[in-house]
């Protein structure tokens, strides 16, 4: 899955144009195949409004990103039947996120840069019966992406907690594309980017078809 991000700070007209552009690219290039709605406003109403707007236009996968479980718990309701991936769970809010994932049947991503703590959190979520998990080791560059993705892929042979899909968060532009490329070449990661231009989407779409 490759997701491009829509901020909840965008006005509705700009958001509609952006989503239309993402739909066009998704149809012609295969990228993106998911939209991530990010809670840049740190408040509920704009986040929920943007989720409702995206849901009405976008038929592919949906990712919701906020580390405030209070906001996430309410924002997820309009889109719960689409089984979104919720991003924002960490060591400080895991119990709340587990409750949201269980209540609404969402997929849940757990983010943590310390690998030992990360798998403790994953183990806890599994023990609370959250089935559809994703792992975000918070990789920050290409080198880290190669090393960490390889390490976790190898760990998965002996550690079931490491068998969940990896999430790679990147920013925008050509470096984001190279991060996405590395993660795609090492493992079948869920890639969430802030933004990629048309050429980057085209290259990633072709690469995905070539190597996956």
């Amino acid at each position: 899955m490759i997701a491009l991000t829509v901020s909840d700070m965008m006005d509705a007209d700009a958001a509609c144009m952006r989503i239309a552009e993402l739909i066009r690219r998704g149809r012609t290039l295969g990228v993106p195949d998911a939209v991530c709605i990010r809670n840049d406003s740190f408040t509920l109403d704009p986040f929920r409004d943007m989720i409702i707007l995206v849901k009405s236009l976008w038929t592919g996968d949906i990712v919701l990103e906020s580390d405030d479980p209070g906001i996430m718990a309410e924002a997820v309701i309009p889109v719960m039947e689409r089984v979104p991936l919720i991003v924002g769970a960490n060591s400080g809010n895991l119990d709340h996120f587990i409750m949201i994932a269980r209540t609404f049947g969402c997929r849940m991503c757990v983010s943590e840069s310390d690998p030992e703590l990360l798998f403790d959190l994953i183990q806890r979520a599994e023990s609370e019966d959250v089935k559809d998990l994703a792992i975000d080791p918070m990789m920050r560059n290409m080198k880290q992406c190669l090393e960490v993705c390889t390490d976790i892929r190898r760990l998965s042979a002996s550690l079931p907690e490491a068998g969940h899909p990896l999430v790679v968060r990147t920013w925008s532009g050509e470096y984001a594309m190279s991060m996405a490329t590395v993660s795609m070449l090492v493992t079948d990661a869920i890639i969430i980017t802030d933004d990629l231009d048309y050429d980057c989407c085209e290259v990633l779409g072709e690469l995905s078809e070539s190597v996956r």
């Binding site: 690998p115 030992e116 798998f119 403790d120 183990q123 560059n141 290409m142 080198k143 190669l146 090393e147 390889t150 390490d151 190898r154 760990l155 002996s158 550690l159 907690e161 050509e174 594309m177 190279s178 490329t181 590395v182 070449l185 090492v186 050429d199 980057c200 085209e202 290259v203 072709e206 690469l207 078809e209 070539s210 190597v211």
Partner: protein, 277 residues
């Protein structure tokens, strides 16, 4: 949670080849590409820039990136040096090729790879001394033809669908002491997955001590330009080529041949970051 160690160690290392005037090394891997987890050698793949002695059929989008210097083959080679390439790949068609190669070697001081018709390559290999060339062969028949007149230069073994270890042994038994394996062209498309599997499989065989599998690996990614329409933008073509190069180097290629200067620069930066240089 205490996590098990995932580091791996290997019984063998890839061969190192010294090329050019003795100041460039290709190969020497002791882990899968770039993996510090497995004690990688901090060395990036070398990147050779492609130069033709004729512009017939050369893509306009690529030519536009050389500021007119592509019209003079020697100037074109010097430009690659200025751009930071580790070597020049000369595609030769002319009869004055041996002298041309020698002049470019003297002007750039870079290692040179040559490709062309068998007779041209034989002339070049026999004439040029003072620098170790890489003679790029197309097809196993050309590798066999060149093997007994390598004159100390490196011969590439175009493995096609053959077994690289066996083909390399055959070439070496005919007199070529130094070889680089070519496991196929780098092209975006369905073949890329198979190419990556062949390169990484060959690299792992070498690290695990399989005889004949320790030679450096070449990947020519210039064919990634072949599928474009004439109106392709240089940026788009360069991004494709750089991405194919990244895919090849992450699989374990030790040497890349590239067409576009922007793509070569991107690939060099990728290699330096992944090799932690």
């Amino acid at each position: 949670m205490r996590l098990p160690r995932t580091s791996r160690s290997y019984t063998s290392e890839a061969e190192e080849l010294i090329v050019g005037k003795g100041d460039y090394i290709i190969g020497g891997a002791r882990s899968p590409a770039f993996l510090d987890l497995d004690n990688a050698r901090h060395r990036r793949p070398v990147i050779y820039g492609e130069v033709w002695d004729t512009l017939d059929g050369y893509p306009d989008a690529a030519a536009s990136m050389f500021s007119g210097r592509q019209t003079d083959v020697e100037e074109w080679a010097v430009m690659w040096k200025e751009l930071g390439a580790d070597g020049v790949c000369l595609r030769l068609t002319g009869k004055d090729s041996p002298e041309l190669v020698k002049r470019i070697s003297e002007r750039t001081r870079l290692p040179i790879m040559v490709s062309g018709a068998t007779e041209v390559l034989k002339d070049v290999a026999g004439y040029v001394d003072g620098t170790v060339l890489i003679v790029q062969c197309k097809g196993i028949a050309q590798s066999l033809d060149l093997a007994d007149c390598a004159n100390g230069h490196v011969i590439t073994v175009d493995c096609g669908s053959g077994t690289p270890a066996e083909l390399c042994q055959e070439i070496q038994s005919k007199g070529a002491s130094k070889v680089i394996v070519d496991l196929g062209p780098g092209i975006m498309g369905p073949s890329l997955r198979g190419l990556r599997e062949r390169i990484s499989g060959y690299r792992l065989d070498g690290l695990n001590g399989v005889s004949g599998s320790q030679h450096p690996v070449l990947c020519d990614v210039t064919p990634s330009w072949d599928g474009y329409k004439p109106d392709v933008t240089p940026r788009r073509a360069s991004m494709h080529e750089a991405t194919v190069a990244l895919a090849a180097m992450m699989a374990g290629a030790d040497m890349l041949v590239m067409k576009g200067p922007g793509a070569a620069d991107m690939a060099r930066v990728y290699g330096e970051e992944l090799a932690d240089l």
